[in-house]
Symmetry: C2
Subunit: 497 residues, 2 copies
Amino acid sequence: MSTSFSSCNARTGEVLGTLTASTPADIDAVCTAAAAAFALWQAGSGAQRASLLRALAAGLEAGRETLVAMADQETALGPVRLNGELDRTAFQLRRFADIAERGVPFEYTDDPAVAGAPPAGHPAMQRWLLPLGPVAMYAASNFPFAFSVLGGDTAAALVAGCSVVIKAHPGHPQLSQQTYALIRQVLAAQNLPAGLVGMVQGASNEVGVQLVRHPAIAAAAFTGSTRGGAALAAEAAARPRPIPFYGELGSINPVIALPAELKTKGADLATTLAGSIALGCGQFCTNPGVIVLLDATQADAKAVNDAFVQQLGLALTGQNPHAMLTQGMRRNFDAGVAHWGEAGAAFVVHELAAAGRPPRPVLAQVSADAFIAKAALREEVFGPGSLVVRAASVAQALQVLQAAGGSLTVTVWGAQAESADVQALVRGAMAIAGRVLFAGVPTGVAVTAAQQHGGPWPSSTRPESTSVGDAALARFLRPVSLQDAPAWLLARQGRPL
Amino acid sequence: MSTSFSSCNARTGEVLGTLTASTPADIDAVCTAAAAAFALWQAGSGAQRASLLRALAAGLEAGRETLVAMADQETALGPVRLNGELDRTAFQLRRFADIAERGVPFEYTDDPAVAGAPPAGHPAMQRWLLPLGPVAMYAASNFPFAFSVLGGDTAAALVAGCSVVIKAHPGHPQLSQQTYALIRQVLAAQNLPAGLVGMVQGASNEVGVQLVRHPAIAAAAFTGSTRGGAALAAEAAARPRPIPFYGELGSINPVIALPAELKTKGADLATTLAGSIALGCGQFCTNPGVIVLLDATQADAKAVNDAFVQQLGLALTGQNPHAMLTQGMRRNFDAGVAHWGEAGAAFVVHELAAAGRPPRPVLAQVSADAFIAKAALREEVFGPGSLVVRAASVAQALQVLQAAGGSLTVTVWGAQAESADVQALVRGAMAIAGRVLFAGVPTGVAVTAAQQHGGPWPSSTRPESTSVGDAALARFLRPVSLQDAPAWLLARQGRPL
């Protein structure tokens, strides 16, 4: 197990500093402290939880200048995006603070006794929600604020009444340490135990594996690759006492564009879509990786679609993505694009960029038959590239969706008017997606009540849960029924002991 | 793979008939039909779902005489219990029909657009609940009605909008076929596709494994042993596209009895507890398998506890359990009791009964130290036996609970008045249980709104879900967000396409 790793400038590769990976003893100490802190925290009030989250949001904003500069150096995401992401992260913390103050984690079902014999008669019951325990939170590389140290998983777990052990992402270790220092300050200022939020770090897989194996850990939340998430999910399931693993993994986010829509709005949609494909250098889990076009649903469909592909290619050529998060991600993007070529995709846009430079956008095209037949064409290629899939019929487009498998999003353009074809496509989209969009592009995930960020495998390990939005809280609670509970316990009204 | 298996008289072992196990081709055909039926059923109304469930409940009641007689022959559970269980099963079907009529499966979150830039601004969103798809339902041996062919899992899955493939339990194959024939009649009478509810059968593990591996199956619900459930859960997770596996597995259901309570009510509680231990020959997942007594919390605690153990032993000796469900379960019970002895437990009651006869109740006693040290003492022994664990202090009792691991229930007698000790015990109980009782015994699970039947591992694979009560429905639904959805779709108000 390597014990040191580096912080690097994402644009130049320059080493900014060297860090020491957490040892097994470190991990054990952090998890043990999280278990001790959990015992206190879980019984706390909504006001206490809200106060912590509001102070963390204020701390983020107060530290903005330093944090954004550090994040920009380690991720190359640029100050505009990073300031917006910091805003979103603070918004999210305050939204969960509101949720805590409204008492959502303490909502319970009251079920008074019904006289008489079973099955109709029953004793007095209340169904409460209990926090699971210390949560292992695996930070993502591509959202150094919103899905990292102080991101949505941390906020949701704390509001649920859980303590948290963060596995910092090695892609932005200095930022992680700076953010964690802020957490420590806030915990101290609020007289909360330092163990309530712990952090471990390292560039090897061992640190993450040791964390999910630790007996004190009661649940895990992960945002990252399908391969990494599947490996950790298997570890969580193989524990002597398995724990829930909430993984938000890879997704190819199909966009289905109907010819009638493209015929009237193709130029605008091409511009919008190109922006979404290249946004953040394509490093979003909601990046539109597959564009499904239907070539035989109207007489001029093929010509309309051909024109749209040309427009999209032109619009993409005009995009200038910034550097990728790491050199390794750049190499993976190049390799993924090469796999498309090897699997028979025809390139529409494929300008080469030197290694070490930001990648250029890529657009390729395949038949639906090829897409359905070849797994290599259905794998997520993380970066500013997209694959156009040409389907003949609605039936074939549905097969394409089925072959694509679970996805965080599916976008359907041209579904404003109801028809049997449109119904079938929307049904097919809903069957594989966590979110179905009928306008706009899938990048940009609203932090709101009705958000669902998580779809069937491989886009997430638990499609019944979401990692963004108000319902993200539910991942860290489980119900407990109290039967014939004494008055002193019922007086707590759902607040854990 | 064996292709035939037997229906046996549970009391005599006599072979009542020979059945043919489902072949891989049978299983494929049933799953394929379930997928086709799902496409129609998922878009149906609550009224349609309720109508099916009400007809099934009426059919059960109309067939009562034949069904109960058949069940009694194959299970030895006796007509009183079996009539009561049939009542409960019909009640459950009608309760889920009510839930369908109230529109619960179609409840959605409406989240209108908020003008302005993100993070506060967002598009119009609605969060719907979608049925998962065909559900594989693994019937249990010990509830031939309530957790079998027409049990709670089938009812909940149908109300959610899922089709169902039942894996019949080989312990009551004739009853399963008779119940399934009733389902087919009702489906035909309501002009519903026969594939909406399919059934497969067999005595080998292969049938169940093939079912959970079938690509059309979208979720599985299981009630049975920890070993069997863990094996199927691993299969569900190892699929190319993993699916949720809702397993209700083994549970030892600790009962913590405080000396002050036993001092005043010991005699009555011993009688009640003995009845619970021997009820249904101990073949309940909520059977109280461990009784935790505290020997040093008051001056006379040890004497009070000794007296209670004597009373409990006497009361158990007076119980005459009926035959077990199968000869194999009888052998497993004897083996489990022998393991207690090998692990150093002292027997309080241990009358031998000849092989082939109903077992006699067993009561054994161990120290908390031994219980914590030896895994053999913490394993579920399915049958009319219970292990008394003598703890010195509250702290040691909490260690006993921790060592016991997840359990469907924990019962705490003597928690009416709040104190630090009582708080600690209740906190410890809630930490490992799905349901905490403060009076009575854990056998008997109310089918009601606040029920939670499912606790941390090993008592269930998904402690955030329940297999009994209104919330059991949620297992078979997953959220989908609709962003900027067209008017024609929103007009469906949460009803799937």
